[in-house]
Symmetry: C4
Subunit: 274 residues, 4 copies
């Protein structure tokens, strides 16, 4: 598994390295080998994931969801750069964990999501993670920009009890355009994520992980809703009883059964659109 | 009518009892007898109730609504475990008040809503209740997690004047996965509900009752809206005039006439969807 | 023009009078004469008004909009009791200013809106008013229940500068079911309205007036929006610059031109629905 | 390029001038020459811009978007006065920078947007500006009415770091109907805008500029969203980390690539409507 040393991502030397590195792919690198065609059902669910998150206002032309290839944990699947509500099966592209495309379907590299490194670097560090979302969900922004920690308000968002850190890109790379533009920044983000289920990105959004594709979609929806509810409850000016970590553990241990039902409803709604 | 002693729902002895009890149905219990086919109009309205509450964002793959069988008050009708917006007449299942299905239509027990005991146990304790909703309505969560009592802001939510208690599952069963997984917890919830029209469930949602199916849907919608309005009014920092209990009594005494009109509109909207 | 003495609407004597009065119509009163068929364009716009307000979440099965008959200022037009989004031209009924129907189209009196007296009594007192809305608009409720006066935040809601009083039904009739159930209460409300463009009703909603049907719809929409914006601005904790009454006068003097454009857009949206 | 001296816009003398000026066009002025037919793709995108902003609730029958003519920077394109969601290619009209129409398609001057001077006067002063929006976006109103400056909460709204001033029309013209009714007021607004990307208008709305049509639409959407998020974050009662101006510069330098994807999604949604 490739690792990137955790140096400070700034300064003229670093900039030079990045420029050189960005030239390398076209010159020296071969496209990685394919793990073979993924399960069509998995691709169908990935397409649905894009549309469900778009329907909930959590993805648009920015933000993305990925899933590990079912035939090889060293490959992941993700849409080409496009608006989430328009994704179809033929837009799904296979990447290796360095976030290099296996086959771009004839598209230039610039037609891919710049921030795909969020996904590849998390998959490298976290073998337990099967699916990743990067979102700009509005309700999360105020929590990323303040020092107020997100807390679990109710059982659908119980996983928040495991801790949601905040990534401050300035600490790693100084003043940037805020994007996770390369593997080094992706590595920094994955490192800050650690063993947590999700991480907020100050002034930007969040990255969310889960052991299944359906759960990463649900976690994104309920993380976003929980933020709204917590902000509402905080304004009431009285103490709040959050879920206990023990409650969260018991809920997470059983998660999935009810979700399959909800997934069916979400999916039908978005896939029946013309 | 079966009653369950109100002991503390925790400890090793209790856990053992629960394990044994959970094995019993498959071994020793017969399916309860049917009360016969319910009025098709009642089933149609129950289907509409699922879809209306889904359309209002108050049910999804979690949460449910039930109604007593029109031919037998010891039976109730409820959908199999599924997303509310997809419910049709053939998904409606008959239960006895111990929440045992009369006929699962060939489905395994795991395909039913786990928390059906909320409904059965309330029907046992409250002969006046004809319909029950269990919802995770977002606006109610902050009130369940704080000590701020819900109050009636306007005449559509007048029934709140009769008091909305909060159920703290930790007091009954310690640290759990928050679900009303069995008759014992359902009994505890019904006991805490007492004679009130509804009860909030800390970190979870609410259970709402009414003397008719249409009213339980309306109460769920307006309980949820009232919570939003009360939170807004509290932030204004000045005293609030809530409805008086006498006003609430007069409103409730007449409730139903205008509701029939509204029901017609709500129902047409959701039943005309493809 | 019939007027009703402004006595206190409670006590046993008053109750007896009301009971007797409620029997009178069926026994002694003749249906009022029709002013003849109204302009079909006016009826079409009234139907659109119901649907536009429903589309904005400001009317449902409760609440209504009326307009004076174009051939006789002593008659007004209003839908039978029904959900606003379902109103069609054949549901429009003609009333005299005592709110007696000219012809119920064969429907019983109970199929009419109970609170039609809001409209009739305002038309009696205010010859300048051509259209009236009664709404339960959620954002208005917190202002009706507190002592915080509504203020004009922006030019679309400039008319608020003319003052929006609050009607406290308890001061007139003690503890009631909150409804404007008869001409006496309608008279009280109209009296409290005075020369103002609208009045909030504590724990209930509002009545809004305007010199045209299009403007009463726009006023309802922007009164409701202004309430949301004012609540938001108040939470910022700094002084707010509201519109000056002189600004409001200049805006109102020109109102109508731009509204015709907006009306066309609103109407097309709701009338093209199946 | 015509300029208007920046005198105080009030008093009887000024009123007389305005009356005389308003008579002039019909008497003495010729319609300006056309720059020829604009690129059909530009017109199509302008139509989409109206509908996208309507779909986001940021334009209705009031408010407008314009773009400079692709063949002549001294001409701009804008819809006739109408509801944004109904605009089609044949409704687009060409104006010179004094906001005189080249050809009204047979419509009277009163059928054009009164406030078109916002656009013409900004184009005169700001050669870098290619597109302008005037909106009544609700979330911006509380910021225009208080002294709370808008700040950039996240990278999609980074341009806010360049400063968003507030235009107080009272300082220029005393008590008015709040509208930018003529070139003089448009000039005042453009002067207050200066080099900033946008300006709030107290009690009214905002004017937003950008170097492309797609970006002015995106800026309008994210300016509005940022205002909501900032208000939410301010209520948390802890310090907020806003984007640094250096971060904003880097983001703006790259802006456009991701936007093309999002634009495709927005456009498909609104143009596929019947």
């Amino acid at each position: 598994m490739t690792t990137v040393p955790s140096i400070r991502r700034s300064g003229p030397l670093f900039a030079l390295c990045m420029v050189l590195a960005s030239c390398l792919p076209a010159v020296a690198q071969q496209a990685p080998a394919s793990a073979g065609p993924p399960d069509p059902k998995l691709v169908e669910d990935l397409v649905a994931a894009y549309r469900i998150l778009a329907d909930h206002g959590l993805l648009d032309g920015w933000g993305h969801v990925s899933v590990r290839h079912d035939k090889d944990p060293n490959r992941y699947l993700m849409a080409r750069g496009m608006s989430a509500e328009m994704v179809t099966a033929k837009d799904i592209i296979e990447f290796d964990l360095d976030s290099r495309p296996v086959d771009t379907h004839g598209l230039p590299i610039s037609a891919l999501f710049t921030e795909r490194y969020i996904h590849g670097e998390i998959y490298k560090m976290r073998p337990d993670v099967v699916a990743v979302v990067h979102t700009h969900a509005p309700s999360l922004i105020p929590f990323g920009d303040t020092k107020v920690p997100l807390k679990p308000m109710y059982h659908r968002a119980a996983f928040i009890a495991f801790g949601i850190p905040v990534f401050e890109i300035r600490e790693r790379a100084g003043m940037t355009d805020m994007l996770i533009r390369n593997a080094a920044l992706g590595h920094d983000l994955a490192e800050a994520l650690g063993d947590h289920p999700a991480i907020l990105m100050r002034g930007h959004g969040a990255a969310i992980t889960a052991p299944t594709l359906q759960r990463v979609v649900a976690r994104t929806i309920f993380l976003s809703l929980d933020a709204t509810l917590q902000a509402d409850a905080m304004r009431m000016g009285t103490p709040i009883t959050y879920l206990d970590i023990e409650e969260a553990r018991k809920i997470e241990a059983r998660e999935g059964h009810g979700l399959a039902r909800t997934w069916e409803g979400w999916k039908q709604k978005v896939m029946s659109k013309p």
